[in-house]
């Protein structure tokens, strides 16, 4: 891309972001403020993730970009193209081939490795924001580990609904010290955060915060001893590949309310089908 630096950002900016990343890795789960730059994509559409990716990306990296678990949703396409143009790196849809994965709202089903980095796009980095609107106050709460109010919220849910009603962006305790918002991944994905071999980086461009979970770090979803955290998913198998352990998208087939459940992770589903797994829908097709 003529006139622009590798991966768009100038080196000074990348250095500033890397310094923030180092601080983030040194204090797992703690939000580091950073001088987020105006990017050619709107705030709220992944500028934080893009800035983190741009700062750690090298010419030999293989980049995968997903949104809602899929490589071909419009925003994932847009971001992947952005890096293809500004960095000329190799891109891939296969999780196993990628060295750097930028994601919005999902963690891939295939377990990640030590040599991989996953970058999460974060809309709201402050896990306490719905309970305390003032950032000045939440900063104090994190400093003093004053997280009682978050447990009050969980208590209220159980008192009202019989269970915790948070289904995504479920708050977690990182390294037994900081309360963190894992980004709007479904609660189903939370267990994957715990002791993940890959480095996890989180970028919030509009709110100007970066945070990180180093490899093999303790990450536990908040709960009560007698109401332990449960990772929920739709009680079905993927119609295309038959997977019973992956997170599923619900697709409305016709106007009579017919539904089909398919893997949200398109790469995972494709790999399974390539390996010969067939789901109910695939079987029906074969029968036709």
């Amino acid at each position: 891309m003529r006139g622009y630096n590798f991966a768009y950002l100038d080196e000074q900016t990348k250095r500033m972001i890397r310094r923030a990343l180092l601080k983030a890795v040194a204090i797992p789960g703690y939000q580091i403020p950073f001088g987020s730059r105006e990017m050619p994509l709107p705030y709220g559409w992944g500028t934080g993730g893009i800035q983190v990716t741009a700062s750690v990306l090298g010419p030999d990296d293989v980049l995968k970009v997903i949104d809602q678990g899929a490589d071909d949703t419009t925003n994932a396409v847009s971001i992947r193209r952005f890096f293809a143009r500004t960095a000329g790196v190799r891109t891939t849809t296969r999780t196993t081939e990628a060295t750097l994965i930028q994601t919005r709202h999902r963690i891939p089903e295939t377990p990640l490795r030590e040599d991989q980095i996953i970058v999460y796009q974060v809309p709201q980095p402050e896990p306490l924001y719905r309970l305390e609107a003032s950032r000045a106050e939440t900063r104090r709460m994190h400093a003093l580990a004053e997280y009682g109010v978050m447990h009050v919220k969980l208590y209220e849910d159980i008192a009202r609904f019989g269970q915790v009603a948070i289904s995504y962006d479920y708050p977690v305790m990182v390294n037994r010290r900081y309360l963190m918002a894992p980004s709007p991944i479904p609660a189903f994905d939370n267990p994957k955060l715990h002791r993940m071999p890959a480095l996890q980086l989180f970028g919030a461009g509009r709110e100007k915060r970066i945070y990180a979970v180093p490899p093999y770090t303790d990450v536990r979803s908040l709960d009560f001893e007698d109401h332990p955290f449960r990772a929920g998913r739709a009680p079905h198998a993927c119609g295309l590949c038959g997977a019973a352990d992956s997170y599923l998208d619900e697709v409305v087939i016709d106007d009579r309310g017919q539904r089909l459940f398919v893997c949200s992770d398109t790469d995972y589903c494709a790999e399974r089908r390539a390996a010969g797994h067939v789901g109910a829908e695939g079987l029906a097709e074969a029968a036709e």
Binding site: L144, Y147, G148, H151, V152, Y155, R160, F224, D226
Partner: protein, 258 residues
Amino acid sequence: MTDETLLSARRLSLSFGTIPALVTVDVDLWPGEMLAVVGESGSGKTTLLNVLSGRLSPDSGTVWYRDPAGRLHDVHAMEAPLLRKLHRSDWGFVQQDPRENLRMGVTAGGNVGERLMAQGARHYGNIREAALDWLTQVEIDADRIDDLPRTFSGGMLQRLQIARTLVTHPRLVFMDEPTGGLDVSVQARLLDLIRTLVSRLKIAAVLVTHDIAVARLLAHRIMVMQRGVVVETGLTDQVLDDPQHAYTQLLVSSVLQA
């Protein structure tokens, strides 16, 4: 500071511009005792409460607190995190307006359980049990545990605030006109409750009130303030039955007349 006091202050002074709110005030509080600070509005009693609890800094003077291990702490030299922690565990503060100390959008049970959860309680059933227990102790119907405080009467809100404050068994409670603004009959019931709880749990308390009758009912010792100065102090009954200072005499006599 003597060996036994829980809280002591020496030579506290504070002015708001040219208006003196506290003039070289000394305070001593022993474990398990209730000290009433009485005076009209403008006497400095609420300011004193705020300075003793670390919420307001004096121009000069010192406040010491003795922790359960027997160590002395200069309240105003303490680091903010430590003071905040103190306020959530060993100390309590009952506000005149309970709404200032309650989460109006959280159920009664959640309000009472919060301090427990802040201290690390992680068993829902136990927290709920403790909340039920405390609601009963402050005479709020157990059925109301899942109700929002918005639906509570003034007296109930005050009792809920007390439950929320006492659930962690604080050793020292500051109370700012806890019965202010309530009906006379509701006041009486509340005062009775406070007296029972404080004596049973052996809580030390500093109680600010303009109402001599409240002081007589609840406090072991009384301090009379006028325009920032402590004019008289001593055992409640002695001071109220045989007031020495002219201002105390005026206060006592005006109650009799009313």
